[in-house]
Symmetry: C2
Subunit: 273 residues, 2 copies
């Protein structure tokens, strides 16, 4: 059992620029919030944990929806480690905050799941836009939510995912406001990074993908879109959570949106060309 | 002297799908219009012809403005051939229509310039968006101006070029209306083609680059932009014509906007990766 959640001090947040420090902070219960802007060199991952009898369906769901669900790793059943993603990762403790789903509803948001762990649990880790944000910022593209210390804004859309077994539902997207020239450059940069959602799925008018009000995101925090900016939308690894709400499995566990698994992989090694 | 211009028959236009057939049609005076949609496999070029004393300044202008002015070839002074671009090209006759500029004003739009040719003329050939249009259409992206048999719409912007000698002025852009997903794909496709203007320079609100009315292009033909589309803007090889209007050299010759030099180079060989 990890200690009761407490906020990290500014000095601790700075130290958490190192991936393993940040992951250990999550394990110890010192890091319980979103990880946007933390450990910027490291690949972060969306997490879905399912009993083995649903794993095959979910694996096909990811294969059919590679933009929202680019798989970075799938665990052995019952094994809480992910040796290809980092030394000593323990999925029972290493997320800052979890969501426990029962029959499609979030029933708890604990900071560890040791007491819930089952010997048939399979962990899926899905690439996260936080990885490409590093590449955007390295190109001098400003990201408002990071400047303002907020979680990224995420929305359910009217873009349907390709179903597999019980999993189906709307694609979830993350949104970043960018001026046109930065948006064009962002398409180029993120096209190189298919393992972390790749190119945007939409830009411009949000209503064309079923988003009626940008100021009311379904997950994360709203940010302002200026008059000379376009909202740019990327497929998001929270999409499986919308699919869980449809599939209503008896039990599933995910990360809390924005509170990601911090791996030992390096973002700079993800580029495909 | 080539014969008086006459329109091509539908059968002749079809045969002009072959680059050398189209170029010979221009040479003979049978092709006197814009070349949009003709000889789709072949690289087409914007043309600027200047006396040698201005050639060095113009060469630096192109080097400093590679998006509107990607140079495909520069001739030897006085030589009307361009052996790297095509067998037997004769710049005195091979454009469908020329513009003769005196002191920054268009004074004539002839179909050949044999009587004007000078033994110090240097020809510059600049990549043209018609080349990347082939790549877009090969990816099932519809281009309205081609569907409607029109020239592409071109606009002067408030984006300043980098000056060189007397050459300066606004960047000219071509515009194609695309839905967001096609616009994102078009950024990817044209990024591979820096020799023919590369990625767009802007998309979305035209007023942000100084275009007040899309229905009134400065060159070419207007096309409608639908409610679910974004106007997407690429740097255009007509930019030197805006610079000629500023530089006001005693004599210069260009192609008429849209009436390009059709080369023997193949578009499919242009991709940089």
């Amino acid at each position: 059992m990890k200690p009761q959640a407490t906020s990290m001090t500014p000095a601790e947040l700075k130290a958490a620029a190192d991936g393993s420090v940040a992951r250990l902070a999550a394990r110890s219960g010192r890091l319980t919030q979103h990880t946007s802007g933390l450990a910027m060199g490291n690949v972060q991952g969306n997490v879905v944990i399912l009993p083995a009898d649903l794993a095959s369906d979910f694996l096909r769901f990811c294969q059919r929806n590679p933009k929202p669900c680019p798989l970075l790793a799938v665990s052995e059943p019952g094994d809480p480690t992910l040796p290809t993603l980092g030394h000593g990762i323990d999925m029972r403790t290493d997320l800052p905050r979890y969501r426990v789903w029962r029959h499609g509803e979030v029933v708890d948001e604990p900071t560890q799941i040791e007491s819930l762990w089952q010997d048939d649990f399979v962990t899926f880790v899905i690439g996260c836009s936080f990885s490409f944000e590093e590449a955007l910022m390295a190109d001098d593209i400003s990201l408002r939510h990071i400047e303002q210390g907020r979680n990224v804004a995420m929305y359910r859309t009217n873009i349907a995912t390709e179903p597999a077994g019980p999993f189906h539902g709307p694609m979830v997207v993350s949104m970043r406001p960018l001026r046109a020239q930065a948006a064009i450059r962002a398409v180029q940069i993120t096209s190189r990074l298919p393992a972390v959602h790749g190119a945007p799925v939409h830009l411009g008018d949000p209503s064309l993908i079923g988003i009626s009000d940008l100021s009311r995101p379904d997950y994360g925090d709203a940010v302002e879109v200026m008059a000379d900016e376009l909202p740019v939308f990327w497929a998001c690894g929270v999409t499986p959570q919308a699919a869980l709400a449809q599939a209503k499995p008896p039990l599933a566990i995910t990360h809390a949106p924005g509170a990601m698994l911090i791996t030992d992989l390096l973002n700079r090694k993800l580029a495909s060309f």
